[in-house]
Amino acid sequence: MIRRLLNWFRRAGLENDLERELRYHIDRSAADLVAAGFPEHEARRRAAAEIGRITQVQEEVRDVWLTRWLRDFIYDLRYSARSYLRTPGFTATAVLSFALGIGATTAIYSLVDQILLHSLPVREPERLVLIDWKGDTAGGGFGTWNLMSYPLCRELQTQNRIFEGVLCRAATTVNLAAGGEPRPVTAELVSGTYFGVLGVGPAIGRVLGPDDDQTPGTSPVVVLNYDFWQARSTAIPISLGRKSSLTSTR
């Protein structure tokens, strides 16, 4: 078994060996023919002709190696299948452990991939921090939900000692009616600093700025997600500066 494994790794070595072996044969054969009185190039030609096409010989030898490996592989497979069938309990346990192991690893990897490896598509994702409450009495006593009161958020926005900029956001669902039936869509309520802090700009039109959230209740503005706009622009005729109706579902 070990030798077979080594054979796999020594594949290049085997090829090399074979080439050396065949070269030795031709050289010796040619040398003997020269000694027998043939001119050099004629001797080489005859020596090569006697052994046939080198590539052909190499192919045949490779076939020998391969059949051997394949046969051994099939034997191993059969042997292991038989031993597994003989001990179904053990097999079930092993398969289950593998399944769980692979499942867990995949789950953890997808999580790490999302959180650590894929950074947010914003200007400097590594400088973003999330401010959160510790404790169990934030909001209505439901524990921590990344909830932060709006006054506190505004307060944080006025400082510039700790953070360069502060944004607040809250995920929600709204009904969007633009010249048709209202449809529920996922949305985010954000502060005017949102786009400035993230360093994200618009494809067309403008994004929200600090001026947009100065007075509560005035001129609500909407920025559409690019994909959303691409996907719905035919279904929902939304254009720049158009008035649309948004109602909160909560």
Partner: protein, 112 residues
């Protein structure tokens, strides 16, 4: 012109290789030469088929190979018989002689 040679019968090349190597370990070219000499150029061995056979026998564990300095001073791959190879040769010789005897008997029976 040499007398017409007939190609080596299928399956006997392995036996001949084992026989030659039972005398002394040698390389592929050496085996080809011995085959020529011993068979007095009656049997034609395609030299190209020698190497696949050598590798097949090595895979079967009947031969072992080793790079050694040859008589010309250059390194060559020397083949030698393993213990199982020796056993195999004895078996092949035995079955060959039994087959040859049987064929002989049949021929004699027919000519009586």
């Amino acid at each position: 012109m040499p007398s017409p040679r007939f190609p080596i019968p299928q399956g006997t090349l392995d036996m001949l290789i084992l026989q030659i190597l039972s005398l002394e370990p040698t390389h592929g070219y050496g085996i080809a030469q011995r085959l020529e000499q011993i068979s007095k150029s009656v049997v034609q061995v395609n030299q190209g088929s020698l190497y696949p056979a050598l590798h097949r026998l090595e895979q079967k564990g009947w031969l072992q190979a080793e790079w050694k300095e040859s008589e010309t001073g250059r390194e060559a791959k020397f083949y030698s018989l393993t213990r199982t190879g020796r056993k195999q040769l004895a078996e092949e010789k035995d079955s060959w002689s039994r087959l040859a005897t049987a064929v002989q008997l049949i021929f004699e029976e027919g000519s009586k």
